[in-house]
């Protein structure tokens, strides 16, 4: 499948995070670029997999600016300046973050939550209202407009949490284990949400972690395996990227799950078991 890579959307260099003496992640380096496909709006879907306790959540907290890196830097494309390839350091709120519980404000209805997410946008109240109504219609949430989180179904809650972040943050979205504990219907809902996000804008980038390797291979066009590295024959006790699989390069991105994907699943599982 033909594609090309253009401007850099995410640049992570020499990232490490430590809490006191405990190094959680170290030497994390990766670059993600805008993928262009002819006659197709293609956002990026990046999966991060790894065994428990390897630092996936810490990496996500750093990517979203919720925790300050001990060393290194994280840059994202600054699309607000109009200058090509302009980049800025990531800060709280630049990248949307959805945790596995799909946390929402317990005291705000869906509409109030969306209005709150848009509070810093420089548009009129009417425009905000119309934008919210468009999202509610497009994502099938019209009936849940005036409901509180405890009155929403699992699927409605997921969609609300995702839209809230889209409205607030712009092009980037990090989801920590979005498929954890979901039934088949809810998993399909989240997959649809991914498609909707990535088909809306070229720069839209979804980064998610999962323990379901099949889902990572099926959905992502770039997969990072986080694990403990082996250096000089000794397994270190900090997380880093131990393997990167570019599904585009091996011609498996944007395709239905098949035998070749299963091969990749096997490879990833082996790397995970050894790290």
């Amino acid at each position: 499948m033909n594609y090309s890579k253009e401007s850099t959307l995410l640049y992570v260099e020499n990232l490490s995070v430590a809490y006191g003496d405990k190094i959680v992640i170290k030497d994390i380096n990766f670059v993600e670029k805008d993928v262009i496909r002819e006659n197709n709006v293609t956002g990026q879907i990046i999966a991060v997999v790894g065994r428990s306790g390897r630092g996936k959540s810490t990496l996500f907290r750093a990517l979203t600016g919720l925790v300050k890196p001990t060393t290194g830097k994280i840059l994202i494309a600054d699309t607000t300046t109009g200058i090509e390839n302009d980049a800025k350091e990531v800060h709280e709120g630049d990248i949307g973050f959805v945790d596995q519980k799909y946390t929402l404000f317990r005291n705000k209805t869906v509409y109030q939550a969306f209005m709150f997410a848009l509070r810093k946008k420089d548009i009129s109240k009417e425009e905000k209202h119309s934008k919210i109504m468009d999202y509610l219609t497009e994502w099938g949430l019209e009936k849940a407009k005036d409901q509180y989180p405890n009155e929403l179904s699992g699927g409605q809650r997921q969609r609300t949490a995702i839209i809230e972040q889209i409205l607030c943050s712009g092009h980037y979205m990090v989801l920590d284990e979005p498929f954890s504990g979901l039934d088949v219907g809810n998993i399909q809902d989240v997959k649809n949400a991914f498609n909707l996000i990535t088909s809306t804008h070229e720069y839209n980038t979804v980064i998610y972690s999962t323990h379901d390797i099949e889902l990572a291979v099926e959905l992502a066009d770039s997969i990072y395996v986080i694990g403990y590295p082996t250096i000089d024959g000794k397994i270190e006790e900090y997380g880093t990227i131990v393997k990167h699989i570019d599904m585009k390069e091996i011609n498996l991105a944007w395709k239905d799950f098949g035998m070749d994907h299963i091969e990749v699943v096997k490879q990833i599982k082996e790397v995970m078991l050894n790290s």
Binding site: G93, G96, F97, F105, R106, N107, F116, S169
Partner: protein, 256 residues
Amino acid sequence: MKHLFKPFEVVSRNNRLLITLFWIVLVVVFWFISSMGERHLFPSPGQVFTGFTELYNEGLVVHIFSSLWLCLKAILIAVVISLIFTYLSTIPIIKPIANTLSKGRYLPLTGITFYLAILINDARTMQVWVLVVFMSTYLTTSLLSMISSIDQEEFDHARSLQCNRWEVLWEVVIKGRIDHVIEVIRQNLAIVWMMLVTVESILVAAGGLGFLIKNSDKFMNHGRIIALQIVILLVGLSIDFVLDYLRKVFFRYSKI
């Protein structure tokens, strides 16, 4: 029938009602039987009724409102103090003060009243402040526990929506937990209500239920004492019910 004696057995609504009725009838029957004869510990229902009628004629309603007013004043002041310290406890430099206030609940009331007596002359004001000091320690303890039980995800969620730290405090802790504050007040009210009667009976000022108990106690009027206990219990339960009702009505999202 057997299942009613089994631990963790789930019973139907009707059965629950029957069990409650059974216990009420049992208590009433026990009361009638135990208060028969010449020598008895509790006054008979008739004596209690007489006691109640006497109290009513002597202005029971006025005394109830006097106690309620005292309770309301003390609660308002204590809630404001406790909330200020609790909300500010999220700031590291203020946290030790809030923690110390919470630990103050282990201080004996006598010590507190001694110093308050030096500072305050008016008995009614004294009653209010004894209650305020006492309540603030308990309220602060419960409110601090309310904050510490908020999941980290809720703070992260607010931060990911570009809330600065003060907005996080406002949105997640203050606005997001108003219903919990009402619940904390409701839970602590029982202690306060109990303390209020004690304080009123120690520091006799402008009447109140505590004052009535003290008077009845002095004359060993058991019928009045039990009648008053029942009134105090019912007023306390009513306040509890009203607060719970208000929380449910005004905060639809509240499922505590």
